[in-house]
């Protein structure tokens, strides 16, 4: 038990107390961010111990190379999915279809660019358009037909890969188009463009939901849908919008993954990535039961997952251990975040302080 009555000074005047309480709020906010950030730092440190060159960056032909760049570059699709997934989860929903949407949008882009004369920019727009359609489909099932999000998005998760296979005719649809490839392979100021694109998407989504009232309304609908309805909020529109945003994020992730290897692999593109995205959101502290969400912390969550992955790659550990190491590290992070798990340690610490 922390002793909160240490200040024996007379009661502080009113303005001071409001400063104190706002400081308290800041600390509380930071505490939320503390554990994901701490976990990321610990994992990066661990990686550095395993591979001393982990943080070193080389520049080859105007392109930055290095493990730390890899984390951001390889993590970009998961980060994008996590951004969309955070909003969906905040409305008490879930979007299992994003992996399949990646496959569809990648297939659309690859097939259009290799079989038509469309400009690559039009192809990008059409690919994102496919993502919007997928999001609308999910959103309509959830918001209009009141189907459980888990089931509604499961449909597209299962059917989506089939659709992608139909589009690519079961092959890996390869293409050659420098403009389109720039998304996944290009660099800007030496930084892989996928990283910059992801950062732009994050900023746009962040401004879009925080500069408009969308963020508040999403949290309101997620925390108490019925009360939000009584308050006159158009919950259907809000729900529809989050699934569309998730679809757009998945489409951009699909473009990155597809242009990165100059081919759309309907079977494997984005496979199981929806689970990584959900995990990233959970690590970031957004509850699956909806309500408050933390966009930036979801991004940290996604980077944590990628750091583990990249760390395993540079470690030289036999691949048979990959999944076990991932599971153990993630479990450790979730334990770190669990107040119940920390409580005995915190108590022991306080006892030590008291006796000291």
């Amino acid at each position: 038990m922390t002793d909160q009555r240490t200040s024996s000074t007379p009661a502080p005047p009113r303005p001071k107390s409001s400063i104190l309480s706002s400081l308290g709020r800041l600390a509380a906010g930071n505490r939320r961010a503390l554990f994901p950030l701490l976990a990321l730092v610990l994992i990066l440190l661990g990686n550095w111990l395993i591979s001393p060159s982990f943080f070193s960056i080389r520049v080859v032909e105007g392109r930055m190379l290095g493990s730390i760049i890899d984390i951001f570059n390889r993590g970009a699709p998961t980060v994008l999915l996590a951004i969309g997934m955070t909003l969906v989860i905040a409305t008490k929903g879930i979007d299992l279809s994003v992996g399949a949407v990646i496959a569809i949008c990648g297939a659309v882009a690859a097939v259009l660019i290799s079989t038509t004369d469309l400009s690559p920019y039009v192809v990008m727009l059409l690919s994102v358009g496919a993502g919007i359609l997928c999001g609308l489909w999910n959103g309509i099932l959830v918001a209009i037909f009141d189907i459980q999000p888990f089931i509604a998005t499961l449909i597209l998760m299962v059917v989506g890969r089939g659709i992608a296979q139909l589009i690519t005719e079961g092959q890996i649809a390869v293409f050659n188009n420098p403009t389109l490839e720039f998304i996944g392979k290009g660099t800007l100021f030496g930084i892989p463009f996928a990283i910059i694109l992801t950062a732009i998407v994050f900023v746009i989504v962040y401004l879009f939901i925080r500069r408009t009232a969308l963020g508040l309304l999403i949290e309101s609908v997620g925390a108490n849908a019925r009360a939000s309805y009584y308050a006159g909020i158009n919950a259907r529109l809000i729900t529809l919008m989050v699934y569309v945003i998730s679809g757009i994020c998945a489409a951009i992730a699909g473009l990155i993954i597809t242009t990165d290897i100059k081919g759309a692999d309907a079977n494997n593109a984005g496979l199981w990535l929806e689970l990584d995205a959900i995990l990233a959101v959970v690590i970031g502290g957004t509850l699956l039961s909806g309500g408050r969400f933390y966009l930036a912390l979801s991004v940290i969550g996604a980077l944590i997952i990628q750091s583990i992955q990249t760390g395993i790659f540079v470690s030289g550990l036999p691949p048979t251990f990959n999944l076990i190491v991932q599971a153990v590290v993630i479990l450790a992070i979730l334990f770190l975040q669990s107040e119940e798990f920390r409580r005995p340690f915190v108590r022991a610490w306080n006892r030590m302080r008291k006796t000291a």
Partner: protein, 528 residues
């Protein structure tokens, strides 16, 4: 009505218990079953409980009363291990205890039944009673034995029901008794009842009281929290009054006059709210024209066709028993349910309202009956809760700037006397009365022309009650049209310019002017 009360002085709290109670004490005076000494708890800058002594004797019903924020919830949460105390002692049968969770408290013999019953509504009654401790046979759950035992157990509560049926199919009263039966069966020396009667009708309350009396006879100590003063006098043996986290008195119920009790709770004299001048009523007429007029709106299985009008600066009361169609009327007007007949006019123009969103666009607002489910958004801050309807009205694209939000929130917090350390506190952490004020603030911020209030004073302590009625009258004076639903007839009579009486989902009559009285309303309801 008015009564002079000796001003209350803090010194009296210091008097030892025996002195206060005198020799007339009837309950056992030996070791208390449960005792708290100097119990203290602080949340940030708020002193929730300071140095509270509390004694519960076997076989007594001990009511803990106080305004919102007086410390009632904190007291039971400390006793049941939800919160850790900062200082003080809890003694169970003279031995200090330190429960770390409600589960541990239960194991020690302290059972709690909350207002929102903590059972699983989708499971059967028997499953609920034995949840987590099912009788087993060969390692499997023996449902037959569980059913038989549940039936036998509920028999002792004079409850003869089909225990295999889903819990949610029974009335709240039955669910309440099932929860009590479960708690007591799991080992209870002490039963804590938190607002057990809040959603029960009169008959159900008596049913519950029969159970409470039976438990009392078995020597169980019962700690009761309620806002219904009449019920306190009906069932309790002793009363502890808390105010601002301190104990201001412990009295035998029989020796504490109602007025004295209210004075203790408020620390001031009650505002005279039950008088209303006929002149005030006469002032409102059809001069302003009706803001809202419904003609025969109805919905099958929900409400018979109803005609209703509300003018600017007028309060129309909806009176009737529980289930008479009061809430249903409000829901049809506000678009929560779509009417399948009739029409609605706003300011003389016919409108179609199919959802609360459309209602809000027409300048409506509604504080719903079920504050927790339909009103407050517990996770969001007080500020966000307050600006929510206004924001919804503006649409998602036009966000209110943070500074403006804070300004409105502070205005409302000040105007409605919302007790909160700051506007960023999650609304769910406020007391019931303050939550109600936050919802009221939400609608006032949206600047409605017409406000529907469904049971605005239910489950709220005396002080907040008076304040809310004061606010209602003020809004009316400022020209708002109001439709108010309340189970408390005295209240309806007090502020209404017109009273629409409902029975069996049908409008019976409309009382105006001098005809408005409790007698007349009851007569209307009783008429064949």
């Amino acid at each position: 009505m008015r009564q002079r009360v000796r001003p209350f002085t803090g010194r009296q709290t210091g008097l030892p218990y025996a002195e206060l109670v005198g020799e007339k004490m009837t309950v056992q005076k030996n070791t208390p079953l449960l005792q708290t000494q100097n119990l203290t708890k602080r949340f940030g800058s708020v002193q929730a409980l300071s140095g509270v002594d509390f004694n519960l004797y076997p076989g007594e019903v001990h009511a803990v009363l106080g305004e919102n924020g007086a410390g009632k919830s904190t007291l039971i949460k400390l006793i049941t291990g939800v919160y850790r105390r900062d200082a003080g002692e809890i003694l169970l049968e003279g031995k200090p205890i330190d429960p770390q969770s409600p589960h541990e408290a239960q194991a020690l013999g302290i059972s709690t039944v909350y207002q929102e019953i903590n059972l699983v509504p989708t499971m059967s009654v028997a499953e609920n009673i034995f949840l987590g401790r099912q009788p087993r046979r060969f390692g499997f759950i023996d449902m037959r034995a569980a059913n038989a035992r549940a039936r036998a157990l509920l028999k002792t509560y004079h409850l003869d029901i089909d225990v295999t049926r889903t819990l949610s199919t029974f009335s709240i009263a039955v669910q309440q008794i099932v929860a009590i039966a479960r708690g007591v069966d799991m080992s209870a020396k002490i039963l804590i009842l938190d607002e057990p009667t809040a959603s029960l009708d009169a008959q159900e309350v008596q049913m519950l009281f029969t159970v409470i009396r039976a438990l009392k006879a078995r020597g169980i100590g019962i700690l009761l929290i309620t806002h219904f003063l009449d019920q306190v006098y009906q069932i309790s043996d002793r009363i502890t009054v808390l105010r601002n986290g301190e104990r201001v008195g412990e009295h035998l119920t029989a020796e504490l006059p109602k007025m004295k009790l209210i004075t203790l709770m408020l620390g001031r004299e009650l505002l005279s709210e039950t008088e209303s001048s006929g002149a005030e009523r006469a002032a409102v007429g059809d001069a302003g024209g009706a803001f809202l007029r419904t003609e025969g709106i109805a919905r099958r299985g929900m409400l018979q066709p109803i005609d209703l009008s509300v003018a600017r600066g007028e309060i129309v009361g909806l009176a009737g028993l529980l289930g008479s169609g009061r809430t249903e009327t409000a829901q049809l007007i506000f678009g929560v349910a779509r009417s399948d007949a009739g029409s609605v006019q706003v300011k003389g123009r016919k409108v179609a309202i199919g959802s609360p969103r459309q209602a809000v666009q027409h300048g409506f607002g509604m504080c719903p009956e079920d504050r927790k489910v339909e009103g407050i958004i517990a996770d969001l801050s007080v500020r966000e809760n307050i600006i929510l309807a206004m924001q919804a009205k503006r649409g998602w694209l036009r966000a209110l700037p943070a500074r403006k939000q804070e300004e409105i929130a502070q205005q409302m917090i000040a105007a409605l006397h919302i007790v909160t350390p700051d506007s960023s506190k999650p609304a769910g952490e406020l007391s019931g009365g303050n939550q109600q004020k936050v919802i009221l603030a939400r609608w006032l911020a949206s600047q409605p022309e017409f406000l529907i209030l469904d049971e605005p004073t239910r489950g709220i302590d005396v002080g907040a009650h008076a304040e809310i009625i004061h606010i209602i009258k003020n809004l009316c004076a400022q020209g708002m049209a109001l439709l108010v639903i309340s189970s408390e007839l005295a209240e309806v009579v007090d502020y209404s310019h017109r009273v629409v009486v409902l029975r069996d989902r049908q409008k019976l009559t409309e009382l105006t002017g001098e005809d408005i009285s409790e007698d007349n309303i009851m007569r209307a309801i009783a008429e064949q």
